[in-house]
Assembly symmetry: D2
Homo-oligomer: 366 residues x 4
């Protein structure tokens, strides 16, 4: 019920504003006995962090995780795990002048309409800074999933008008765009440099694949695995669309084309993206999200202020020209959080987490 809690059995509650004293999370329901150390969070937080290349915001986020509870001598104890990150780079003066302004396409207006009050410092609670804690919580989830052979990984699949011409998982982590086509990276760099210079921004698409998910995870009707994935992915800042498997392309397909036939040797295709009836098939779980372009622009936009006056807004802070790039590790994190939650739900009702090696192998997917 609580709006800042994700998950039911592996429940992650996040808190904190972009420019407040700290952000953090509490993970309740974590299985005991998982090895976890403060430096285990480093890799994924770095992947998510700004300041790693000139193509993302130049703010430097330290994101040093402190474990406050739930871990004893390097192992989870089953009690709530609280993680804390102090906000070191607050500079709230950057934002003071827009305290009475509503930036177009931001949550400024909606928070103010909802609560009658808002924290104007850096987007407050609606800032993407909150996603730091999702990535952190998912580090623990991924460890548990990895013990069962499950790997969650993602990549950028569209950057404005660009789509990959080739696909290689091996390329993804070797460029600042999580782009699966190494040959296109120089083009993208030129593209992004021009974009930043122009003061404009661009949207993106991210795709996430989870390998080796056992058949049988997910629940009927309102606890469907794809339903929970949709909520999880749509909850990421700037996301405007979610697809499972073929997604919107399915609207133009024939039944004979879309249905994934099965043989004892394996599935023959994976249009469904690994989910049927809301429950995993044992095939690769495949999902995609669309992210809108960054709303904070140096180019002026028409808006109103809290008094109802017409104003012109120019955002001069440091902002990514494409928020979608950094969304890759965040989307992976949300998929991992959904998976561990459904694993535990499945175990509760059915007694175990299901088969590790699928009865019917997945069709080859990329």
């Amino acid at each position: 019920m609580a709006s800042n809690t994700f998950g039911t059995l592996f429940a992650v509650t996040t808190f904190g504003e972009s420019h407040g004293p700290a952000i953090g999370c509490v993970i309740d329901g974590c299985p005991p006995g998982i090895d976890i150390h403060e430096d285990d969070f480093r890799a994924d937080l770095d992947r998510r962090a700004t300041g790693k290349s000139r193509h993302t915001s130049q703010r430097h986020e330290e994101d040093a995780i402190e474990i406050l509870s739930g871990v004893f001598e390097g192992k989870t104890t089953g009690t709530p795990i609280a993680l804390l990150v102090r906000n070191t780079d607050q500079r709230s003066r950057d934002y003071a002048k827009i305290a009475e302004q509503f930036r177009p396409a931001h949550a400024d207006y909606t928070y103010w309409k909802k609560y009658g009050i808002r924290d104007p410092r850096g987007g407050g609670r609606s800032s993407a800074r909150e996603t730091t804690m999702r990535v952190a919580a998912a580090v623990i989830a991924k460890k548990w999933l990895a013990q069962r052979g499950i790997v969650v990984r993602g990549h950028l699949s569209q950057l404005g008008e660009h789509v990959p011409a080739a696909f290689d998982w091996g390329a993804v982590e070797d460029n600042p765009f999580f782009w699966p086509d190494a040959a296109m990276v120089p083009t993208l760099e030129t593209y992004m440099d021009a974009l930043r210079k122009s003061g404009d921004s661009v949207g993106a698409r991210v795709r996430v694949v989870a390998h080796n998910v056992p058949a049988g995870w997910g629940e009927p009707i309102y606890g469907k695995l794809d339903g929970d994935l949709a909520a999880a992915l749509m909850s990421i800042n700037a996301v405007k669309g979610v697809e499972i498997g073929d997604g919107f392309a399915a609207a133009g397909q024939r039944g004979t084309e879309h249905r994934d036939e099965m043989t004892p040797q394996g599935f023959l295709s994976n249009h469904a993206g690994g989910i049927l009836g809301g429950i995993s098939t044992g095939q690769d779980l495949v999902c995609s999200i669309a992210l809108k372009p960054t709303s904070s622009l140096r180019l002026p936009g028409r808006s109103v202020d809290v008094h109802g006056n017409a104003i012109e807004v120019v955002t001069t802070g440091r902002h990514d020209p494409c928020v979608g790039i950094r969304a890759t590790p965040i989307a992976e994190a949300m998929v991992a959080l959904v998976l561990i939650d459904h694993a535990l739900r499945h175990r509760a009702q059915c007694g175990d987490v299901g088969e590790v090696v699928p009865t019917i192998p997945s069709a080859v997917s990329t």
Copy 2:
């Protein structure tokens, strides 16, 4: 938590299998004092029902709702409202022969992998028959919303390769396809006749708009209005994608194009689909879903049986060649259920349901 319950404060729990004795639902948390009679359900259930034209399944579903509780002398009392529909057209013999078969692209395989047992009669719990109760529950939600001027309506926006060439809300209810372009209806009829004859099926896209949603509904982070819509819509049978506002098109847009500028006289566009930061803006709420083609086909498909043997499956039952058509009232229902739930959540925390006339009018949308 419970997988067959939707919503938190207006909580709808559905039960029942396609070919069991009955389907039903329990609505908990309904505001008291709403006028409701058993014949109030008729219109929307008929819109959802099969058998209304030759383009949907020829099964005849009576869907006569019985109110079992929570209503006294025609008014809701605030206690749980139970609704029941007896399954009159069971004919389980149609399905007996496939009890040991897994139909490709159905939930047969995943339910069996999850539970180790499944009700093979007519798809059991995974049948779209369950959506009858969503539509029924939403009838009550829509009444409450209508008292506040909120209207939820939908239409088919793609049928296989066809998209509307014109748009007129007035046309939608006057053809069996919920199609907004009357001139195209003969073409679609010919198309669907040919499709049925071929034994194949096709996907579709449905769009839902909610007018006059107050600004301020929705919650931060994991209780976002768009997140809950995504879960609600993805939970509909056969849905593979969900979009809010411009959806996947946003991935190719520039920030200057996507951001909806505001003036005291109104928003200048509605690319966001009425939601920013997970909270409603007061603009029209716009969302779309993609539905895969019907999986039950007369054309043979390769599969396996419960013993692991390779088999060929042919489905001879009565099935819609496009499940997407009937999804229009179901999608409306899910949007209405999300809205009333968020209205109550907003009222809980903030004291009222918010402004009925928006401060800043919506951009004109269709």
Copy 3:
């Protein structure tokens, strides 16, 4: 969250008014594969039912359970199990005259203050008739628990000023009072006959014991096993107090007296009632409840009506002079529902339901 749902993983939602068309429940999250037939409910429903002796209400409740869903060929399938009982003995005319009156000590006044409307027929939703469905749901829970050796049983431990002088589980089911001291039964019968004649009523106390509960069930802080038991038992109509183990007697004890010492051969006492820190110890789980005297009396009482006028209320309907007697199977049911829920929660987080034979045996208890 929903107020008419009990449990989190084995979630029971009840609905129905005392004199409406029907009462029922939906059980979501039930493990698959449990054998269940409609006549399995008979024994416990009869134990709860009125009309079985002259010491309880003379209304005859048939309580014939119909299984509407979730069971296929005699086995639970993992999908929601809906149970329905039609109300055959409605006679709402008995209650018509008190539609505008608030009966002292009933929920009439509070429901009316809450909702501004109430169903006056037989207490509506607040009637003890609702507990029929708790007992029915618990029949399934008890079957699952019994497979693990867990037995839940209860008895009356006080009836007005009477307390048992001896204790024998064997006597409990052989008298209409669930009384553990057979020699006292004639005295109680005389006592109850005189009480009924007088038009007054009396309170009672019920004790429930669960044997063979594994150590380790329960959760920290707000999901404590005793916390959930307290909520479950307090939710029974007329309950005004809940005790675990020694309960209120503990307020007068010394630490050296109360602490249950352990040896490798077993616990030496069970003052704690089988729970420490909110988690089961493997000892017998022991709890007690206090029930207030029946509020419906033939002896006139002062009250007000919906218009604020002073009135005198006399209740002429058929009512138990001691509601506590029938509470025994209801209290057992609630304990069973708490136990299965915690078993599943434990299995979700920790991987299995725990040891069936306790490492350290329970102290002998009665």
Copy 4:
């Protein structure tokens, strides 16, 4: 669902171990606009804290609250409020020697049985130190309640064999026992000094009253106000019993004695403790709890260690000889948290928080 979260709409999640780096909580769903400053927590935390008299533990807990989020310029914003207290007085060496021992009547054994691992430092998660955060969260709840005239206050009503001979709310805050009879305080001081000297401990009883609760708060069946109070109060460390109104005394009462008659001028008694059918009557809400004697004793007790060996345990740390004394502000806190949660739930469904001045006044109670 999450075991470390209390409440549904005003949801408090606590974390932290007694001797870990910190304890804290996250409050989600708090109404916006409440004035709150870090020094607002001081008074209630001091009332709860140890070290304030020789009759409670001599550990000095600073309990300096840091607000990490959800408050902007001294007002709640509607987003999650995170509160943090660093543990300054850890001295984990005191506990090192009992890492492999199970202290009788502690949660050591049950946590170890549940999780297969435990944090042995100071009781870890099961320590009463966690209640600091309940008291802190309730400070905010009490502010909101006070704006509606609602006052929650408590007192000790039994200390071992002692019960108050007189009653005066004015005396309660003027002695270290929260005792309502000033004349008895010297006797209690002598009693407690002797008890501490003896190495033994004693149980206690605490009573809490909430004044001016509107009629209509609470929900049917499983969301009953008394059910939630029972869970809330039973969740406090060492509590073994909960009573509403007359509680266990009701088991021996007649209906004519127990029923609270109503007149237009007011209720004539309050045996029900302000709740009928799970919903508040507008009378004073009255509840009591029983607390077991402190389990940590200097007097040796028989136990086992993690290897199953028989051992003798002596606890030499600093411990209260009566944990019940400090439970008074904790019990008040839990009642306040239940009340605000039900106020918001009522407002969600019924539109407002109900009447501030009751239609029918409460009977005079103490």
